[in-house]
Subunit: 357 residues, 2 copies
Amino acid sequence: MMNNKYCVIMAGGIGTRFWPKSRQRMPKQFLDILGTGKSFIRHTFERFLPLVPAENFLVVTNYKYKDLVLEHLPELKEEQILCEPIGRNTAPCIAYATYTLMKKNPQAEMIVTPADHLILNEEDFRKIISECVSFAADHDAMMTVGIKPTRPDTGYGYIQVSNQEPISKVKCFTEKPNLELAQTFLQCGEFFWNSGIFIWKGTTIVEAFKKYLPEHHALFSEVEKADTPEAERAVIEKAFSECRAISIDYGIMEKADNVYVRCGEFGWSDIGTWGSVYQHSRKDRYANAVPEEGCYLYDVRSSIVSIPKDKIAVVSGLKEYIIVDTDDVLMICPRSEEQNIKKFIDEVKFHDGDKHI
Amino acid sequence: MMNNKYCVIMAGGIGTRFWPKSRQRMPKQFLDILGTGKSFIRHTFERFLPLVPAENFLVVTNYKYKDLVLEHLPELKEEQILCEPIGRNTAPCIAYATYTLMKKNPQAEMIVTPADHLILNEEDFRKIISECVSFAADHDAMMTVGIKPTRPDTGYGYIQVSNQEPISKVKCFTEKPNLELAQTFLQCGEFFWNSGIFIWKGTTIVEAFKKYLPEHHALFSEVEKADTPEAERAVIEKAFSECRAISIDYGIMEKADNVYVRCGEFGWSDIGTWGSVYQHSRKDRYANAVPEEGCYLYDVRSSIVSIPKDKIAVVSGLKEYIIVDTDDVLMICPRSEEQNIKKFIDEVKFHDGDKHI
């Protein structure tokens, strides 16, 4: 019997937020920034593997990363990697995966997940995902997973629930609120972080594309008619070049009225900043997040050090710094100034071009 | 006509004072720590080349560095590199060079110089050296070069002069005085830094070895009787294994009564610490000594940065730091704590063995 459950991993990020450790040629999803022994994408794959057979995974990524994906997930076949010619945010990414899946199995039930998040309690997480899958199978519902917030984070999207049931209809989405609003959200108890994980039947999301993003539907549904890989490729190239870049949240979730959220606590972080890497790393007795070997620290406190394997770092007299050393870039920056990394990258790019980016 | 002038470059140092830039396998004399485009030994060679023909140079070094010397001084033939089996301080080094030269040319006039000092005003320096060579040719004198001190440095040796003539008999040598004494020396006007550069006739220094270091004379003068390279090698191996390690200053200069000094000012430094590297490097407008390319500094002041070619450093928020990055070691240390480098090396050695030293 055909297994109708599919997992779509969105791995198209080209972010350089963890520069110089993340690079255009090696973005965060392929890194092991927390030193766990596995990349984010590998963790994501293994997290869903108890729920979805390996042959039912799809990874959507930029064509440049196809080989990297296959290297990190050797269980997958080449045809399970969907290559975006260009990043167009999550709606086109999901459309590509959806219509490709529907062509293969119109009964498809989909779990859509980012490739680069941290989940500490995977058992609890899978229980919640399973509930969502069941709910979505029985309803024409677009499910999302909400995280109980622990701080007034202004970098996340928030979901307001209609009631306190485990699975609640969504009242409202709010993208990145200011601090005051985020504080209100935290106190109110009705707001949850948007994890960016979605669960739905293929038929449900197709209906939503038809209704809310008809252009995307028109462009991407062409893939179902393509009768050769070359024809499919041509449809996708055309679709990505012509479609509007838009997030699934903004394009569909915020507009639809069949959106539900299952809220939970399972130790989630999108590990979006060096600060969150620091927070989730094991610390030595001076609160330094450093590799187990190779760091010689003298009067160093509350700092994070990342060095290449086989290299050593001798550091003296620093407090609350980020030190990231790679083959071709060394970055030393106070933790309080990590938001400047973007500026650093721009200046390096301006002077040295792309080679260190 | 045979040119009797010889230059002996003492290049046996295995110092790790500039660790991690200097290494056991790549000591300071082979580095371009100041970013001048040439190594210290290359500068030393070129400094004396207007006075001494290339074929009259000898370099005394540890056998491990023979190839490095030939690489930096391709003008020299292999037989111009004298290989010490083990470092035994300057007296054995000079004995080795002296008896090797005397065998070749008993009329030899010698200039002996460290390989790794900085001289800013080379024209003035050569004038002074030429004066010394003339004086030594006409007298049975052991000449040394004194430097007018500019600060009460406690790391140098001091030479007290008997009078204020350009060439004066030496009254007294004082090795590394304490700060109080060094301050007195500076005020007094009779004391000069010992540059470690010596000028004498071969016959003069041989007489001094006979008188003050007779064991060294006995061991090293055997080289004159050796009639094959193999026999010479055997003499040298035996001499170094049996001779006492002693400096030429302590063994001969402090005891002899025919020691003269020519004092001068020509921008000398032994570049013995990162502090002196900093002092002699070109600084940017925030007083940072950094390479011309590859450094992106934000709110960084009075610091020194050394990175490998083709690597970039992005540094934010540091004041008075030493940042030295090499292929396998990164060191970040306040300038005020550079004396701790020795301690760092010891700990790295203890945990990781010699591979990073």
